[in-house]
């Protein structure tokens, strides 16, 4: 019964995503908004791989998101005009940085781990901020745009056709999410859950806890940098705000809002967050206060997130 429910839920999610560019217009949205939801969802689901399924609190994921974004932007601007290659470079850059930093911090736990990830998150912010002539500094990196994808037999014009771009992003999203789901079901993923539930016991069972957390951090950052790359492509622009601390906070609150104990939770969180951001920023200049209030209210009254509450209701 449970597996049947899960399958139905999966089918519904994918159908909704496939049809999103059509029904969003009826609700007053636009195609780029859908793509934005996908990008944020991918980032938050990747973060949740670490946060919700390994039980490790990282508050610095914007760094890898931003590295992916800058990797893509700088590759297209300075090296080669190819979207897939640029994405690859973005992922590699983000993942290498994560490998090094993860190796430094993997022995730390709890609050300490969170604080070190926050602090390290700012390193790349300052680098992009200060390194004006290459990164464009505070003004961001402009003068480039995403390049149509050439498949040999056909050409996908993702630059001028937002719907085509949406479906390309959806395809990438599907592959990434599929890999994460597969990993979580594998023995490796089960081990991560064991570490989350009881680290000491896992250690006594002979599981190399540090190596598992490091790998989980790496996988999480890999997909976050992919999301960052897509974010740069979506905007045809990237600036240091993509890797500042507030972006890290956004990813965490998206995961919590949707429900960080469930696989699809961050996706729901992303949809709510992106739509609210779009709506509120057009209404008022005080988006920051609103966002802050949003954080406070979620933490005080809604800590389990949407899916957490739904699940609890269905159990009782």
């Amino acid at each position: 019964m449970e597996t049947l429910n899960r399958q139905t839920a999966n089918i519904i999610v994918w159908l909704l995503l496939l049809a999103m560019p059509f029904w969003i217009k009826a609700l007053g949205g636009y195609t780029e908004l859908c793509t934005q939801v996908l990008v944020y969802a991918l980032a938050a689901m990747a973060l949740n791989f670490l946060l919700g399924f390994t039980g490790v609190l990282s508050f610095g994921h914007a760094a890898y998101f931003g590295l992916g974004a800058y990797g893509v932007a700088m590759t297209i601007k300075y090296l080669v005009a190819s979207t897939p290659l640029a994405l690859l470079v973005g992922i590699v850059v983000g993942t290498i940085a994560a490998a090094i930093i993860g190796w430094l911090i993997v022995n730390l736990r709890g609050v300490y781990f969170a604080m070190v990830t926050i602090a390290f998150g700012q390193v790349f912010y300052f680098i992009t901020f200060r390194w004006n002539n290459v990164t464009g500094g505070d003004d961001g990196l402009t003068g480039w745009s995403r390049v149509p994808i050439d498949l040999g037999f056909t050409r996908i014009d993702i630059l001028h056709n937002p719907t085509a771009f949406y479906y390309v992003v959806l395809a990438i999203f599907a592959v990434a999410v599929g890999i994460m789901a597969f990993l979580l079901r594998s023995p490796f993923g089960r081990t991560l859950l064991a570490i989350r539930e009881n680290e000491r016991r896992a250690r006594f069972l002979g599981i190399p806890v540090e190596r598992h957390i490091w790998l989980s951090f790496l996988i999480s950052c890999l997909f976050v940098s992919l999301a960052g790359g897509l974010y740069a492509l979506l905007n045809n622009f990237v600036d240091p705000r993509a890797l500042r601390w507030d972006m890290s906070g956004n990813f965490v609150i998206i995961a919590v809002l949707g429900g960080m104990r469930s696989f699809w939770g961050p996706m729901i969180g992303a949809a709510i967050f992106v739509v609210l951001q779009d709506y509120v920023s057009s209404m008022t200049e005080n988006w920051m206060s609103f966002l802050g209030l949003f954080f406070v209210l979620i933490v005080l009254f809604f800590p389990r997130g949407v899916l957490g509450i739904l699940r609890r209701k269905s159990l009782s």
Binding site: L57, F59, A114, M115, A119, F120, I127, V252, F295, V296
Partner: protein
């Protein structure tokens, strides 16, 4: 050149004293309550702006006394109603809450006092240079260093010799036992939070005189304070003090030789510390 190095070292020391004052408050709160107070920078900004608002009525000295106390009072209220419900839950939640508060404070100060930088008048006694050769050594800078030293000294005195301080230190080690011994832990955490916020408010008033007032003053000072705590060692207040001064002087010196790496240098230091001595310079083994 010597003078330049001297100038930047001294500048770094002042900046480091700020970091240390901020980081000590953060450390106090984190050690006893396990809360990473991301809104600490926001409290700092509130301290500065309150002093600015009070100045026409009570003058510079009155503001210096009153503003940190008022900031601490706000801190007590915030702890009581927003943070207390979160003790015993995953630290994720208190971090997210203070994150949200940081947003509200920054936007709130911008809303009330405006986005542009406000000048903060300091008494002429303090604003003139002490000697023509060491032009950078204004009375205010010297005064700040002295005041920070006094504040830190007072903090360590309170922690070492007063009943409250002893309880805070004991609670840091084993809160449950302290509670069993009949200490009201809720009040203890509340007062401890207020003490930490007082330090932030004091740093805010001092920062206002040195850097002027901007709504973003808090968020620009909070990251170095985290670095100071990590370098100095989590759980150790002397370590936090040392960490703050160290990264301040280090970034001051870097300004002389390689100005664009001013911020990067403290993160390099942090990386090195984590690599060689993960518990931090004066941190205790095995606490985290």
């Amino acid at each position: 050149m010597t003078q330049l190095i001297l100038f930047d070292t001294f500048n770094g020391l002042i900046v480091g004293a700020f970091y240390a004052l901020m980081a000590l408050g953060l450390s106090l709160i984190m050690n006893l309550s396990g809360v990473i107070n991301f809104a600490h920078g926001g409290f700092l900004a509130i301290g500065g702006y309150l002093a600015f608002t009070l100045m026409p009525f009570v003058g510079f000295w009155g503001g210096l006394v009153l503003a940190p106390i008022l900031t601490a009072a706000i801190g007590l209220v915030v702890e009581r109603f927003l943070i207390r419900p979160l003790y015993g839950r995953d630290p994720l939640y208190s971090l997210l809450l203070t994150f949200g508060l940081a947003y509200i404070f920054e936007d709130g100060t911008r809303y009330i006092w405006g986005a542009q930088s406000l000048p903060y008048q300091i008494p002429t006694v303090l604003s003139s240079p002490l000697s023509s050769q060491f032009f950078f050594l204004t009375g205010y800078r010297l005064f700040m260093v002295v005041l920070v030293a006094v504040a830190v000294g007072a903090l360590f005195f309170i922690l070492k010799y007063t009943r409250l301080g002893v309880r805070i230190r004991a609670g840091t080690l084993d809160l449950e036992t302290v509670s069993v011994l009949g200490v009201n832990v809720r009040i203890l955490r509340n007062l401890n939070f207020g003490l930490g916020i007082y330090l932030a408010g004091l740093a805010g008033v001092l920062a206002a005189g040195m850097l002027g007032l901007q709504p973003t003053v808090g968020s620009s000072l909070i990251m170095p304070s985290f670095v100071a705590i990590i370098v100095g060692g989590l759980g150790s207040l002397p370590g936090t003090l040392l960490g703050g001064l160290l990264i301040g002087v280090a970034s001051g010196l870097t300004t002389v030789f390689f100005p664009s790496a001013t911020e990067a240098v403290m993160y390099i230091m942090m990386g090195l510390v984590l690599l060689v001595r993960p518990r931090g310079l004066l941190g205790e083994e095995g606490r985290f």
